[in-house]
Subunit: 148 residues, 12 copies
């Protein structure tokens, strides 16, 4: 069995389902974790799912993933827009990184338009709510097979 996929979540995502539900929906991060694990399993894949509010911990985890993960799904939340450190970690990861966001960041404040992470990611999926994560799992599963 290959190494697991690290699914890392940044600041305030632990509040999912409890805040601004009209934007972020009613599902909690635990709900997403469950769904992600199930979807991964359906592809014969495993996931490690974590959340932190600290930029540096995210960097630590991305570094840890270098040895322990086959791919990275990263919802860096607000750090996506401000953290060059995370971008550098993603580039050093050397394996596929997929950036996801629950909301369509391009329809929000101007300062959410740009993400540093996207410059170090293979692909970006935004706006589908929790579904964004599942599509990322599918994308990783499909990688290498392409249009089959």
């Amino acid at each position: 069995m290959p190494q697991p996929i690290y699914v890392l979540n940044g600041p305030n995502l632990n509040l999912l389902g409890a805040r601004e539900t009209e934007i972020y929906g009613r599902q909690s991060l635990a709900d997403i974790e469950t769904a992600v694990a199930a979807r991964a399993k359906s592809h014969g894949l495993e996931t490690v799912f974590r959340q932190t509010n600290q930029e540096g911990i995210l960097v630590n985890w991305v570094q840890e993933a270098r040895d322990n993960a086959s791919a990275l799904i990263l919802n860096a939340g607000a750090y996506a827009h401000t953290s060059i450190a995370l971008l550098d970690a993603c580039r050093a990861f050397g394996k596929p990184v997929i950036e996801v966001h629950l909301s369509n960041i391009f329809r929000r404040e101007h300062f959410r338009r740009r993400t540093y992470i996207s410059e170090g990611a293979l692909g970006v999926i935004v706006g589908f709510g929790p579904q964004s994560y599942l599509l990322a799992i599918d994308a990783l599963a499909a990688m290498g097979k392409d249009l089959k």
Copy 2:
């Protein structure tokens, strides 16, 4: 059976597989069309797949989709970055629009960083090559069911 999904493609996408294959891969747009139709069918969905080099024709098709389609997958190519007319058409569409790009536009020239379409789209998927389209089909299929 619901209305089909319109999958619309903008300028130069007809050259897929023939140009810059190191960036865009070796699959032709016809290959993508076949794969998209198959994937849609697997969800019990139908697709209408078209390509044009003309901004105005894209606008026409998005308008046509108002009556004939349940959703829209739009790879507007370069027009994504320059066409407010397309943005307006997407907003008038009133049903889900998903913007896709084959390459990760955030890692290319500065003028490809911004897309007008994203401001009128539900979600955006970039960087997965032909897989971007299939993920968009999956996203539409999953819509309404969410994490089930």
Copy 3:
């Protein structure tokens, strides 16, 4: 009788009355055409009224107007903000061009604040809904007489 006034409409204006009626009102483009013709007739003037979603067709029509029209009323829609080609055509027209918009473009997104057309127009009328067109007709009728 003098040459008619060309009244040219750009992308998505064919959807008038059907989309975003809280912004654009309930009148269709056909309603506007009728009203415009009536207003022109009240001044002893004739109008040619057309719509297209294609930038190049608009350019064609503005060029055609050089021989066939005495003046031009142009609602270029989104192309007003992106088309230098239309600006060039308007400048080559050599007779009065009036730019109109249904909505007050200065109260909308930032990218609608600037129009290229205005740099080639005699005057600009925005924000009055269908009335914008009728005021343009009146303005053309009044031209040459001034405050009489």
Copy 4:
């Protein structure tokens, strides 16, 4: 009889007909006042017509109009480009405000491209010389009836 329309004029408009006549024409502000009153009368409307070089007096008059006027036609001259105070007054007015300019401000210096007033106005009419005012009167008269 309804309340009158306030027609307020900003700095340097008292010089009309005396300065830069190739740009602003030969009619004086008094000529415009007469024509405006006549046009209003033809619609069964009354006007109050004033000019001042002082930003604060313009603000005073717009405030005064809250109780005494049914609508506002505002040629704020250069203050259109620099006065947020006037914008705030217009927004507090709560009834229709039409911004007019004699010249086409979009063909002049860069700093005349943007007007704060337009963000608080219903509509904007620029470039028709004194005719700009008359079109504004007509627009107010037509309001509510629309295309009839």
Copy 5:
């Protein structure tokens, strides 16, 4: 008894309680004046409270305060964002200036983000409605005693 505190108010603040009450609340400027005087009295202080719509009059008053006031509370309204003349007057005042705003100007239009006054003020208090003034009075009363 020390010299009074000048509390100066800029354009459109005389409309308080009458306009946009959802933003600015239902209290009139007279209500604020009364509350400010009472709060000042509770500290053994006196206030002079004025409003004008004219930038130049505000400058006059700030200059007058040089001889007659011990401190200045300035709600310059929209002039805060456009008046370098007021900034200069505040700097020439030589005694404490506190800038206040009723609304949180940092959550409004982009052009309200910057105030010139703040560059000449000791401190800035924004967003507390009429309470902003009372906090400014308290701040002046506390000055020199600090944390006691």
Copy 6:
């Protein structure tokens, strides 16, 4: 008794009284804590007072305050200018947030002019030294009573 007010302090504020005393004064953060508690007590309020140099810890604390605090006074120090994560946490807090700064940030380097926090705060108080905190306490105490 209501829930306490969280008073959270960001990077380098633990150095207060020890560094750049000509700017920040001679009082230590402990002095401020004492004064804040006393002032709160005089209003029948309690405070929880903390400092950290870590952005993520601040986010944690703001999240913790959701359940345990009635309001938030936030001196985010330098993170005010760079942390969208903190802004998001403040918005998710759902109860009053007051941003304070000891110095007048608008008179310092250009990059201190803008704070993200202010976009999620009810009000902002800057430039009064330790007094900024006490005014914030007063503001919270006065909230709901307004000008009484």
Copy 7:
């Protein structure tokens, strides 16, 4: 005898000699008026010397100068940087305008670098303190004779 030269002074210049004397020197505006009159007299010229804090009054005076003055020396103070209305008045003046400033505005804050007045002035003299005015008088006296 020719018409007099208008020497007009803007906001805060009435404080000269009383404020920031290290920047603006110890001479009062009255001192300057005396010196200016003497210098003009030495050329057989007369001056009208005025000061106001109000932008609109400055505009009034520049307009008045159209009939009554042969030239204009304008120290618009802070309005030099913000007043398009004054620029327009200067342009309408039609006779020589000289912009003067006591301090070297190019060595001060960024927002003092640009003056609107300079775009309507014949020449600009800055940085010489009261001497700036006298040089302007000399320049007007020399005009027409050139290097003689």
Copy 8:
């Protein structure tokens, strides 16, 4: 004989000789076509010469040239400044592209300073009127021989 050179012309170039002759000269596009063909023939080369006002048609023709042309001379007119789609097509062409303009675009409006096409062109020739085309023909003929 090698494949012909495609000489493609964008919007409003069909008006040559009829509009703004002081800028663009008195020669019609047909005159240029004749001269271009003659010059090409003198090098033993053939040309295909076309004009369209539509961006998408230009893209079509550039794509068509991939199979049918040995080189491309492109006067994209106003689309040079706005069309990323054309840039992409030029890059996909894979053979020499020469951008030409009749006028010196660097001496005109600011928005004509930048061309997207130049980023995909081998060389650029501007400002020589019809001669720009002939120089481009010569350049293609000389290619490979260099300084001979």
Copy 9:
């Protein structure tokens, strides 16, 4: 025989053929000089060919050309992007100036996109290597005859 054409070369062009040959080719400046002279001679024209690394010397030479040259071909190298002095000299030259560059400056660093020289040149030819000079010679030879 007419006056010669001055062909002036700026900084680092003396290194041609020796540096970065993949960009600039293998021909030395002497090779270009020879080819330019030959091409000029074929038109019955003479050339003066010089190179310097000093901006001021280039200005001197352009001034010298006023009396001694019929036209100017200027490859100002890096000074094209930074020298307003050279622009002024070109404008004072009063006869045709053609700006040439070996490489396509529009495909290089951002700061090479703008040239001051182009604002004072009749035409611009870039990207053709040494051929750029020969085309410039041809352009000068053709001038006055146009499409013949």
Copy 10:
């Protein structure tokens, strides 16, 4: 007798009287030198008058002036806008520097609006043609006596 005043002139000023006489007038630089010397003599002052097209020579001369001149009048021409080296030299001069320009640089191209020299100059005089120099001489003569 004090040290002389250095009057240094930058690029293209040697062409005065010969080029663009409608802008710069008909007087040659020699005429100005004569007039400057005469004016200086009338104040009991001496001048050293030089011109060069080279930035570095200007720097040399400003350095030389440190030991040999009591003041500096600098018309750096185009280098005023591009030379930080000259600014540094002026600052190192340590005695009065007056920047002069013949034309009003604030009414010309955008890139002439800013001068580096002005940041190192005592005062700036622009727009008076040759008279600018004479006023500078007068200003230096008056220095120290002020309004006497």
Copy 11:
């Protein structure tokens, strides 16, 4: 013996030697630590060498250094470009800070061009790989002796 030099390293520097070795070289951070200690020892100096991925920890360490270190060598990695908090800590340090970077940050992405740290550092050394640290040690050792 004086206090040691703190040598602090920011995010991703722990990966040295393992990632992007063509950019960062093959030496690990431990190798650098050893070399730094040896070099310091050769000057009779001691070093404390640490690395963290967390911005706040870096701030903690810089604060700790106030009491325990005589100088600071800081390779803040990506935080150099985003952390005002670190800048503030460096300024509060009050003893020499030297900023180092392994790579030449000025030849990389645009967002790496600016460092906040440099505004609080005595000196900056970039681009020499591990040697950058050793040069910093030497610089500190040489400080006070200067060119001896």
Copy 12:
């Protein structure tokens, strides 16, 4: 013995020790030359040390260094910020270039923040006064040996 190191100095550096000694220190350039030679000698290296105020001479010397030097230490002074010509010369040098500055340019005016030279340099050392040169010598000596 290898080729010497060229140590080239730009404008105003010849004034070292004589001007602004609080910024640049009391050592003259000759002092630095002596120290640099001694330090080089200690590494068995030779130096050629020169200064000029002329940009073009610096370019000449960098070109000369191509044949005669093994490395280049360049303190281009103000030309570092304005000279693309020098950048090009450095790139053509093909051997190590080290940019040095005496002062920390990142703490000075905004226009000193960017250096063109740094884009062509191996490394950059700023802020150490004369020591900057010695560190550069050491860096060159250490090159190739790395951490030994």
